[in-house]
Every structure is written in structure tokens, then in C-alpha cells.
Symmetry: C2
Subunit: 393 residues, 2 copies
């Protein structure tokens, strides 16, 4: 068995990030994923920042899949997708609510063809409500979920976007887990079902545990408001940046010793975890005032010796070169048949008996159209006829 | 069936966020989760910002679990945990590498008691390598993974932390998916296995698709460097902030019409998607110059009419009150028996046949010690003896 999801067949009509990244994770874990793309340029992510159809983002959101091009508006294309549904365990789509039904591939139709299928609908905002039909981009979810406010400038109050597409990618992670849970339920009950997920719901739920801590108690009486903190845990050393945490008394004492100021533990402003939080900015300014006198390496060594949690703040290049990343064998290089040598991460979770792995590079548009059709029972003549009809783009 | 994971038993020795949030998701989906806590104050998250053992973060990371207090250093506590392992499908721990083995509950020991168990180890940095034994906090992973650099100030180069604990929570999501996949594999093969996950690996993998796009091609020749962008998609209207995207030509034309400047579509600097990215700051400045002349509501209405993706940038309070969030029935209020009335989100993914739901409030420390022991076959006298011994705290 070459992955915990070995033998599971996923028919993926999704594009962009929230769907494709979810199905890639399933593919990493052994599922057989068929990516259905429209004729022309296929998934738009292919072209972002790269003219050749292999943008970096496409490469690392679509490995372990095969690509088939189908024109679903033509009878031949329609016939093929029905035959693919017959053999599929999971059907994934992330079109705007209502669109897949208009295409004639709503749950009811698909379930009639394959009763036990896990049917997955990923939306931006939800399937009903004032935003249901609106177009979605990641920043709109950052805005609506409160993330952009949470990240805002504390001096000016101006919101700020997080510079990685957390809503899109988090939705993919949430979808992958939900799909896997539905497959487990199906394995035990024989029944497939419809899994629905909105990016907005995934993001707000993700933020909640600490991001919405101030709004968890409906009555605010239980709440001790936290003073506004202007500084974050970024410290400038003489030749770069580090982070360091001093939450517990032991860690604070360790920091004071590392700083050569053991007497700072006597300072009442910092005498307990609660006091250190109360006097957050004063404490961080004090820490900054000594950290700037030494280099990154000096500080990390001193802090490690005192068991104070710490680390260098790495650039992207620094991440690739860091010895802990190397020890984890996290980043793997491989030769992509079309794109050349590329770097990506192996699947993060490791399975002792059914390892997840990179088995296939991200496919060229329609690279596996003939192969998949042939496996699905189409003869060479039939494939030629479909191509003639324009059903294969 | 009351959730796709109904009937699955999870024995959870983890604390803080990365483990508990993962097992809460499994509990939301019907798994029976027993949270084992140490005598005294239990999971440290109970006390963060709340003296009564029910911090907001604890409440919303530990619902759908029962709590049992065990002193694992005492023979009686040890005996109980072995009996719980006999009945468990999943064993989760997130101690520093090596610690669980020193406690005598390493995989080998646990698997001898329950051969088919899914054994889960969540670490901060990995199980080997220079950082393996270091203490971990979320900001250290933000620093090491490159996230703090990506979020950095583009003018000064100073790194910046993301103000929600993405590494901790993302690790939980990744773990929940991997555990579910291992359960599915076990359902089909009968075999349990060891699932290992490092926060650092989860975070770097998550960043990769677009965050590391510039480092995906090993040879940089294929790369078109993106000009540095000083602005983000935050626009100040006369009475608040909005976001709006103009990626496609149609969206840009829509924005120009909404702005009352259809002639802007003639501007060569913004005549294609590529040109608009190239002239990012100039475009956003132009957009800002008109957006500040109208209110949030005016702009959203105009942009919606032109089908330009947009949304208000909501404060946390605004999220709670927003009509789309209401339409999604995302936020639910309930009375917690100890903490009073609280607000949280329902599980994000919705299952048509096996709904995930909030069945239990987050438990008081040791609230279910007697109940769980009794179910596990301990008599009232045996429970009294364990208590006498100090095994139950």
C-alpha cells in the first residue's frame, strides 16, 4: 500500500487553490486524482507568473494528479465525465453556488450515476446569503473574516493583509480532512454524502480559538482586557533578526541570565507571567536594548544554553538552507519533465506504514487524456471520434 | 450516526493547541475523545487570560471531549492509562521528542497493549536535528518557516509576526487530516501505524505553493521577478476600509465604470493582467484616490453592480454581526455550565448525512474522571482506592 488513501479515486473539477490543494493532499496520500480541465488554458493557475503552463504555484498544488481535457458542453465530453463518475469515489468542485447544477452535474445527477460517491462543494462565502453569488478572492475572505483587522497597524488602525493566502490554503486543508472523514464514514456505512465547505466559514473557525478570544464570552465580565501591544516578538540583533519567548518565570530568568542581567528578575514589572503580559512593550523594549548588542548566532547560543525558546528569523532562502529543515528532509528537488529542476516540500505528515510521497509531477494540460480514456474503456477509434468532435479540446 | 467519526475512540495526552485543536475536530465529527490531564492545573491553556480554568481559547479548543485527571507517575494512574489504551483507536501526544518514551508510553509499549492503534506524535521542529529538543512556541515557527519574513515591512525590511497562531493551528488541521487518513487505511487493512508531524514541516509546506514560488524553480531563468509591492489590497473609504480585486480585464473595466472613470481602461499601465501587476502600486494609488471619496456602503454597492470582487474589512465585532455570517449560521451561542454564555463557531465543514456538531461543552478539569473509570470497568471501591493513592490528582 503506497499511501493511506491508496485505491481511492478522486474526480477533480476544481481549479485555482482551494480545491486543487485539497486533492493534491489526497493524491500525496495515495489517492488516484484525475484533474478535469477545460480546453484552452486549463486551470488559470497554470499561467500565473509563467507563460509555459507550469507556474511555480501550479507545480506545487497539482502533483500526484493526471490531467484530462474535456469540453463539458459537448455531448462527447459529457459522456466521458459520466463514465469517469461511475468509477469515482469522490467528486470535487469549487464553482460559484448554482453553477455546477446549471452544468448538469449537481449532486443529484452525479449520485444517480454513482450512488455511494462523496460529493464535495467548496464555495467562497456559503451557498445562500447576500454574498453567495459574489466572486471571491483570498483578500476578500481576509477582509470579511476579521483577519485583515487582526493584522492591522496598531498605531494607525489601518488593516493589513496577511501576505500568504491563508483562506484559500486553509480551506483546502479543511476540505481534505472532511473528505477523508466522509470516506471513512462511507467505508463503515456504505453511504456517500455531500460535504459542503465555505472559505469564509473555514477562516472564521480557524481564527476563533485565540483570534476571537475577546468575543467568546458573551458577557464581557469574565474578560480581562489585554493592553494594546505595539511590539511583536521580533528582535533586531547586530546582524539580523531573532525571536525569543519569555512566558514562564523560568524562561524570563533564563533570558535575564543570558543577557548578563540576572538582577532584572527582581523588577516587579516582569515578576510573573501576568505582569510580563501587562508590561509587554516595556519588557520587549528592554529585551531589544540588549539583543542589539550581539549577533544572531551569539544570542541563539546564549538563549539555547538557558533553554529560552528562540530562533532566527529566516528569509525564504534561509529556510531552504537551514540545518533543521535539512535534518527533516523536508525540501526535495526533482526534475520535472517539462519545467526542469524544481524544489518543493514532501507531504508534511509522515505515515510509518503507508508513506505519502511524490509519485507524479504536476501534469501538462491534458497530458493523460488518452491514457485515462483508454483505462475507462474507450477504444482508440472512440477516442479519435471524441477528438474529432472537439470534446477533448 | 452522529458524525463521520462516530465510534472512533481517541485518547488524547496532548496539551496547548497543536494536539487539542486536532482532537477537537475529530470530536466535532463524532469521535469520543478522552483528554488526559495532569493533576493541578491541567492543560496550561485553561488558565491563559482566565483564572477559572475556562479561558476562551480552552473553551473553543476542547469542546466535545471528556476530561480525566491522572497522575501517570503513580502505579494506579499508569494502570488506568493502560486500560484506556486497550480501548482506544487513536493515541495522541505532543511532548518534546523523547519525553513520551521516558514516560514509558512510547509507540512500542502502546502498540503492545493495543496493536491496531494509530499512534500520533506532534513535535515542534522534528524528531532529530539541531532543534529537535528545543522548546517551541508559535512565533519560533513563524520565524524559522519564513512566515515572519514574508509578512515583513517592505520599506524597512523588518520582519513581522502574523497575529494569529497559524503554525499551531495549521499543525492541528494537518494532524486531524493525517489521523483520519490513517484511520481509513486501518479500516481497510486492519493495521494501525505511527503518524508523525512537525509544526515546522506543516508550516513550510503550507507556505510553499505561492509563498515560496520564487524558490520553486531551482534555475531562476524561468522566473519573472515580481516588482516589490508596497501597497496591499486595503483601501480607505470615507468611513471605513474595503478590499477590491481587479485581476481580470473585466474586473478592471468594472472598477473603472464603478469609479466613474471608464476612460481609465485606456491607460496602458493597466491594460492587461500582467501590466496591472507590473504597475501594482500606481494602480492601487489610483484606486485609493477615488475610493476615499465615497463610503464603504456606496462603494460595495457600486462594485457589486459591476461584479468586481470586493468586501468590507470587518472588525471582530463586525464579523459577528455580518449578514453573510448570519446566513451561514456559523456562530452559535450556548450556555456553558461553568463559564456562562459563550459564542463559538460550528464545525466549518458540513456533512449531509453525518453532521458534525457541538455535543459537549469543554470540560472542567477531571470532570469525567469517575465516569470514564466506571465505563472502563473500575468499581466504586477501585476508584476510591485510586483516589486514595493520589493517582487521580
Amino acid at each position: 500500500m503506497s499511501g493511506p488513501l491508496h485505491g481511492i479515486r478522486v474526480l477533480d473539477l476544481s481549479s485555482m487553490i482551494s480545491g486543487p490543494l485539497a486533492t493534491m493532499l489526497l493524491g500525496d496520500q495515495g489517492a488516484e486524482v484525475i484533474k478535469v480541465e477545460a480546453p484552452g488554458i486549463g486551470d488559470l493557475v497554470r499561467g500565473i507568473g509563467a507563460p509555459a503552463g507550469f507556474s511555480p504555484t501550479f507545480l506545487t498544488s497539482n502533483r500526484n494528479k493526471r490531467s484530462i481535457v474535456l469540453d463539458l458542453k459537448r455531448p462527447g465530453g459529457r459522456g466521458v465525465v459520466e463514465r469517469l463518475i461511475e468509477r469515482a469515489d469522490v467528486f470535487v468542485q469549487n464553482l460559484r453556488p448554482g453553477v455546477i447544477e446549471r452544468m448538469g452535474l449537481g449532486e443529484e445527477v452525479v449520485r444517480r450515476i454513482r450512488p455511494s460517491i462523496v460529493y464535495v462543494s467548496i464555495s467562497g462565502f456559503g451557498e445562500t446569503g447576500p454574498y453567495a453569488k459574489k466572486r471571491v478572492y483570498d483578500p476578500v475572505i481576509q477582509a470579511l473574516s476579521g483577519l485583515a483587522s487582526i493584522q492591522g497597524d496598531r498605531e494607525t488602525g489601518r488593516p493589513r493583509m496577511v501576505r500568504t493566502i491563508v483562506p484559500d490554503k486553509l480551506t483546502a486543508m479543511t476540505a481534505a480532512q472532511a473528505i477523508t472523514a466522509a470516506l471513512l464514514a462511507r467505508e463503515r456505512s456504505g453511504q456517500g454524502q455531500h460535504v459542503r465547505l465555505a472559505m469564509l466559514d473555514a477562516m472564521v473557525s480557524f481564527l476563533w480559538p485565540e483570534g476571537m478570544a475577546g468575543h467568546t464570552y458573551v458577557e464581557q465580565r469574565n474578560r480581562r482586557p489585554r493592553p494594546p501591544q505595539k511590539r511583536d516578538l521580533v528582535f533586531q540583533a547586530s546582524d539580523g533578526y531573532i525571536t525569543a519567548g519569555t512566558v514562564s518565570d523560568g524562561e524570563w530568568a533564563g533570558f535575564c541570565r543570558a543577557a548578563g542581567h540576572p538582577e532584572w528578575t527582581e523588577d516587579e514589572r516582569f515578576a510573573s507571567t501576568a505582569a510580563r503580559i501587562r508590561n509587554w512593550d516595556a519588557r520587549l523594549e528592554l529585551m531589544q536594548s540588549v539583543i542589539e548588542t550581539g549577533s544572531v548566532d551569539e544570542w541563539l547560543e546564549r538563549l539555547d544554553a538557558e533553554q529560552v525558546p528562540c530562533g532566527p528569523i529566516l528569509s525564504r532562502r534561509g529556510v531552504i538552507e537551514h540545518p533543521q529543515i535539512a535534518a527533516n528532509e523536508l525540501i526535495v528537488e526533482s526534475d520535472h519533465p517539462h519545467a526542469g529542476r524544481i524544489r518543493q516540500t514532501r507531504p508534511a505528515a509522515r505515515f510509518s506504514k503507508t508513506p505519502a510521497e511524490i509519485r507524479r509531477p504536476a501534469p501538462a494540460l491534458g497530458e493523460h487524456t488518452d491514457e485515462v480514456l483508454s483505462e475507462t474503456g474507450y477504444s482508440t477509434d472512440e477516442i479519435a471520434a471524441l477528438r474529432q468532435e472537439g470534446a477533448l479540446g
